[in-house]
């Protein structure tokens, strides 16, 4: 595709020669002629100076020089997404239809254009919406409802009663609707509390590889529309996650916690049980949240604190050697005074 055409498709303003044929997409350092690249953050201006890319996408307002043509756009991340779609290598999509090895219980409702891959197992009462793709080896439990245009990667497990919305993507090996972790203690031993609730996952959700989302003890574990969950995340029973909240890999959220909308949790963040995390909260990587967090707060640390308070504490510790010196000086001066006075 010619650069002029690409620029048009991503709604960008081209500066420079529009003739180069763009065949690939690469980082500034790795790009070779034929590639389009991206400078999303101006701190990579040096890399842009040295890039061999045939063109670079930059923010509209960016001021600077480039060795190659630039395409100015409003949202470079969005432009990247569009370019990736336009220039993706062609991987054959699964064909609609039910693979002959798939085991589909009688009465399961399968929408138009659905693809059910080899070795899938779909239990009675399930419904799969139009154009949804189940890759190889997925397990769909009794009475599961999956909406339209979803993609389930290989080996995904969705247990009984779970509801999944539309356009939701579940990556390889993820488990939605496994039992919550609940036991009561009697006579010194644990006994299981049956987990009879379910999970409801909204529209446009993404669930990462080998992530686990537990069914509710009773009631519903709820993942709202637009939530994005990375790999190896653990979401406990009866948790509620608000709209457009995003969480990175290895996050753990304990049972019955309510996470608001537009929250961002960094990698390995842990959130205790029965907490309320307000809308728009941001938690830095590895934070350990043990208390409710008001909306809009940026927290960090273990235990997590509002960032200013975290920094103050951190700063305090670094002051200690200085304080120690001051105290020693005071002691010396005071001893001298005492000596003088004593003599006096």
């Amino acid at each position: 595709m010619k650069l002029t055409e690409l620029a048009e498709q991503i709604e960008g303003t081209l500066e420079g020669d529009g003739n180069p044929e763009i065949t690939g997409i690469a980082g500034l350092d790795d790009a070779r002629p034929g590639d389009i690249s991206f400078m999303i953050n101006p701190k990579y201006a040096a890399a842009l100076e040295k890039t061999q890319a045939s063109a670079a996408v930059v923010e509209r307002k960016w001021e600077g020089t480039s060795p190659c043509p630039v395409v100015r756009v409003d949202n470079p991340d969005k432009a990247m997404a569009l370019c990736a779609t336009l220039l993706a290598p062609e991987i054959p999509k699964p064909e609609p239809g039910i693979h002959e090895t798939a085991i589909v219980a009688e009465g399961v409702k399968i929408g138009d254009g659905v693809s059910v891959g080899p070795y899938c197992v779909i239990r009675a009462g399930a419904e799969i919406g139009p154009r949804t793709i189940l890759s190889a080896g997925c397990y769909i439990g009794h009475n599961v409802k999956i909406g339209a245009d979803c993609v389930l990667d290989p080996h995904v497990v969705v247990r009984h009663q779970v509801k999944i919305g539309n356009r939701t993507v579940i990556h390889d090996g993820a488990v939605v609707g496994g039992d919550g972790f609940g036991n009561y203690r009697e006579a010194g031993r644990w006994h299981k509390i049956p987990q009879i609730g379910t999970v409801e996952v909204g529209d446009d959700v993404e669930i990462g590889s080998n992530t686990t989302i537990d069914r509710a003890r009773f009631g519903v574990t709820k993942i709202a529309d637009g939530v994005k969950i990375d790999n190896l995340v653990q979401i406990g029973h009866n948790v509620q996650i608000g709209e457009n909240t995003a969480m990175a890999g290895l996050v753990g959220i304990s049972g019955s916690t309510v996470v608001g909308a537009n929250v961002m949790l960094g990698g390995q963040v842990g959130v205790g049980g029965h907490l309320k995390i307000g809308d728009g909260v941001i938690a830095g990587g590895k934070s350990g949240i043990s208390k409710d967090i008001p909306p809009g707060t940026f927290v960090f640390g273990y235990p997590a604190l509002p960032y200013k308070q975290y920094v103050a504490n951190h700063h305090s510790v670094s002051r200690i050697p200085k304080l120690k010196e001051q105290i020693t000086a005071l002691e010396r001066r005071l001893a001298e005074l005492e000596k003088m006075i004593g003599k006096g």
Copy 2:
């Protein structure tokens, strides 16, 4: 089921009208007429006041008022488990028998009433005890022994030689008996130490979804009776976990560590290798344990400390600004004195 009957079944004492028909189970906030609910902690008394549940289970000794009939019980958690069993939606249980697509090696011993789901693979020398359920797509390695009345959820992997006791539940995608992580270094490179030991899992154990329990380098990785393990937990080679110990999601226990009985590890706790964690230890969420912990200790923090010591340290840091003020005041007063004396 009538409330009077339900109260009887959970060995509770009913106060109020026993006529309502109970058809579901829900949290105090979510409950609707027909539901039974639970107030396990008196701090939720306000939620009880506003509940629409048809009845609420409370602790026998609780004093307070309720808008709906209450059922007093000794152990509300246990009552919840019983109610959940009584009121669970009916999900068909796998029928006994070996699915025609299961691949079962010759000579494998299958007990009475066992259910082997579609696409299971069972290798030679394995034994499956009576009434045990293998859901779809489980892999059972050579010479594995699984006891009676176990449930293996879809996609569980149990590698060769592993032994599983009775009434043990292994959730979706868990791997028991994968190789331990062991390498030696020679000439600047890592070389694998073959992991020729195995794993022994006791009776009444629960293993969470996508959890991994490694086989021993040699000898045995041992999970004692009654241990409860949540999702995405990593248990290293040669670890020993004592009876009725419970651990929450994303816990990691490094090789050769011995964890006592009745230990509780919060979510994301990490335990170093070759340590001894005494009976009854409790570690708060995200603690990082790098030393042996004596029995009965409550630890917290990274590195984990006995809780009192953790709090003392934490408190110390918060004192620093005050100390700084005191030092500044001292310096001022001392300077004045020095001036006076100098003049004197």
Copy 3:
């Protein structure tokens, strides 16, 4: 095998009776007659004194006494690996050939001696090198290239375009080449950035059970030769891991980070995105790395600091109660002086 013969095979120097028949391998505490054991660290000398092993492998230079014959070697870890190979229980290896239930697309290239287990699915364009073993239920995506002598345990997923080198081992349920986690925000919602890159895994790599390695946004996520990755590790898109780097369970590495060669990351370590971790860096368990780390540094803590600095900070905090006492004493002495002077 006679002890003399075993000693010879592991290139050790035998001291004591070489006649005992060695049939097993065990830890010093668990060993019984017939077992060979290992004292790799002299701190276990007391365990050696009490062992019932028929022989113990020790470091060549070790000085001490043993109740049983000893075999002196240069590298006890290597000797352990050799012994484990020699004394491993015989588990039948998968036979070469393609299981009748495997679904192999037309045109897939399968090398000599390859074993493809039951219920494997191999997509078009894939190539599997000689003698590689795919255990049961593996999924191999379009155009995947896997080298010679690899072992893929049950339920491994390798997504489209991914390249795997030779002699690489991928354990049960691991996912290589799942989508990276990338979204852009527009009008208050997240939109997916297609992940059109791939993953390249080198020779002699080990990837743990249920570990996830994400494909690049574009370009390549790269795992160099000799890298050893434990279970439940998350490696983000476009990460690069240098040769012979090792990382323990539950480590998370965020997108676009470059980890050098010969790095060691302890369990649950987290590494932020777009960082550079130098060659030979060691990070203690649970460290949270948020900045570039120069080569050869040992770091610890959250946020991770060079170890000396971490210890200094830690030490500072423990000094606070003492500082408080000193300040109180100063205040008292100063008050006395002031009183005297005032009187004076």
